[in-house]
Amino acid sequence: MRREIVFGGATLVLSAVYYWLADRLPVSQLSDAIGPEGLPKIYALALAALSFILIIGAVADRRRAAQASESRAPLSRVAGVLLMGVAYIVLAPWIGYPVAIAALIAATTYYQGGAFTREAALVAVSGGVLFWLLFVVLMGIEQPAGIWR
């Protein structure tokens, strides 16, 4: 169970950083006996303790049986999906909501194994228009307008 050991290590580090941040919170005259740092410190200590338990448990398990690892998408593919979201955040204020949405649909569709067909393009474009109609026209929520302002 190597991945659990890694995760336990990560939460352990997180608890240490979080504790340190809590410890550095400025002292206020308006504070109560517990203070802004009181519960966060308790949470950090509890998380550290649980991380240890998780790591020890995983080490013990490892000796017993090597778990069959399941199939999963390669990390690069997963990162790709996330990147599309990031690209949306960056581009939407420039190219505008309907275009950005159409592009997001097109990219996701293609990435998830769809072919680059006329149908796919049509779906993406109508998706952009549909979402724009739904959110901006019908519900009146301002979405990033970009060049369409």
């Binding site: 939460t11 919170l25 206020s28 109560d32 998780l54 996701t108 293609y110 998830q112 194994g113 979405q143």
Partner: protein, 453 residues
């Protein structure tokens, strides 16, 4: 529903209130549809519905799950309405019994079900819950007003809204996990239709619905409750009293009926503190309160004396809204079901587009979209490590309630912890919570021993 508010400015107050009430009921119910279909609760209170709702969807029983959810929501809404009409006066006094120690105890009670929604590993569930509690500490400190863990970002000043955590973990996490997985089989025509429960099912889900309605009534009365705690408690109790507890988490109709009845009961009973005390208990009831104020209607005991026609109008509006919910729900679910049965690549694209648009709409913030993406990545990691989401959701939703009332209670008692035992309501709730925790730990230990033996 905040969007609708401006449209009511020019209307007659009673008409405006009826319209707002109808939207309110719809908004409170609507969160369950995405919870079942795409594993993304649209409201905090719909988080418990994800467990068995999505499990049923995966078994190709989405139509049945939606039917049960709608029917149970309707039953819960009607029960809540009856309570609202008949018991507003006595129950508004119950609301007054809630002091800071009692609110703290209530939050602890909500957290005590963590073990039951942790799946196999209690340790992992607790880790998730702690991460959730930590997320809830981001923002303005409830006592001193200093900012904590915001890294100087004004966007984080009011904290991370729980909806971002849920959308990230569930919806975006699922998108990431589905990447590279093969497409699914076309759904059979049978599962693509809404199926209302028949008489046999009515009988089976009557008990969880009753449990849900009772829990919902209790939580709705307490200002600030919001429906999440009662949905989870109802789920927990429905399992305890069920004759098929082993099906819970694997697509049990009872596991949908209980939380759905609970959160729709809350939608109505939450109006008790709003009408009688002017204190909203959820975001959507806060908007309703704003609608009242704009029309010069001041909630409070005098509302019933000065504007009885508005109160009566509201009751009728809620009744009509609940019936309309049944019909509209049916009409809208069919296209939703059709949508989720499209070829996978298209569906993924549309869910992604829907998620970024929806998250942006909350406050018009691309920063929020980024936060949701971050939780999506975390959700992917948690899925891979089999760390349950729901404890984290509970931590995020309840963390602030627990911390602020814990510290508030101690400020009022000058640091004396016995205040939690001297308040009878707080002591009672804490006792129940401790019982839950002990039972869960014992169950987990026993299961662990059997696994090793």
């Amino acid at each position: 529903m905040a969007l609708l508010l401006p449209f009511t400015y020019g209307m007659d107050p009673t008409v405006a209130v009826v319209l707002l009430a109808a939207t309110y009921v719809g908004a409170e119910y609507g969160g369950s549809i995405p919870a079942i279909l795409i594993r993304t609760p649209g409201t905090n209170a719909a988080a418990a519905t994800v467990l068995d709702g999505y499990a049923m969807k995966q078994q190709g029983r989405a139509g049945e799950a939606l039917g049960i959810s709608l029917y149970s929501g309707f039953v819960g809404g009607i029960v809540g309405l009856v309570v609202l009409v008949l018991l507003t006066e006595p129950l508004s006094r119950v609301a007054l019994a809630f002091t800071p120690p009692a609110y703290f105890a209530l939050g602890v009670l909500g957290l005590s079900v963590i073990g039951s929604v942790s799946g196999g590993s209690l340790v992992k569930g607790l880790i998730a819950a702690l991460l959730g509690l930590m997320i809830a500490t981001i923002g303005t400190d409830p006592v001193t007003g200093t900012s904590r863990f915001t890294f100087g970002s004004p966007e984080l000043l009011s904290g991370i809204p729980p909806i971002l955590v849920m959308v990230g973990l569930f919806a975006i996490g699922e998108l990431l996990a589905q990447t590279g997985e093969p497409g699914w089989e076309k759904a059979s025509a049978d599962s693509a239709r809404i199926r209302f429960p028949g008489p046999a099912m009515w009988k089976r889900i009557a008990r969880p619905q009753a449990i849900g309605s009772v829990m919902g009534t209790i939580e709705g009365v307490m200002p600030g409750g919001g429906g999440t705690i009662s949905a989870f408690l109802a789920y927990n109790e429905a399992r305890r009293w069920s004759s098929h507890p082993e099906e819970f988490g694997k697509g049990s109709p009872e596991g949908i009926a209980a939380p759905e009845a609970a959160n729709n009961t809350v939608a109505c009973t939450a109006l008790i503190p709003m009408l009688s005390l002017g204190i909203p208990s959820s975001n959507s009831s806060a908007v309703l309160l704003g609608g009242f104020l704009i029309h010069g209607l001041v909630p409070g005991p005098m509302l019933f004396v000065r504007n009885p026609e508005v109160v009566t109008g509201l009751y009728w509006g809620l009744l009509v809204a609940n019936i309309a919910m049944l019909i509209l729900g049916y009409l809208i679910m069919t296209p939703c079901l059709w949508l989720v049965n499209r070829p996978k690549p298209y569906l993924m694209g549309f869910i992604y587009a829907f998620v970024v648009s929806g998250v942006y709409s909350i406050e018009g913030s691309l920063f929020h979209v980024g936060v949701a993406l971050g939780f999506g990545a975390l959700g992917y990691v948690m899925r891979y490590l089999k760390i349950p989401f729901l404890p984290m959701v509970l931590g995020v939703v309840l963390g602030f309630l627990v911390e602020s009332n814990y510290r508030r209670a101690l400020v009022l008692s000058s640091g004396d912890h016995s205040t939690f035992l001297r308040d009878p309501l707080a002591a009672g709730l804490l006792l129940v919570a401790v019982t839950f925790i002990v039972v869960t730990v014992v169950r987990h230990l026993r299961a662990g021993r059997e696994a090793t033996a």
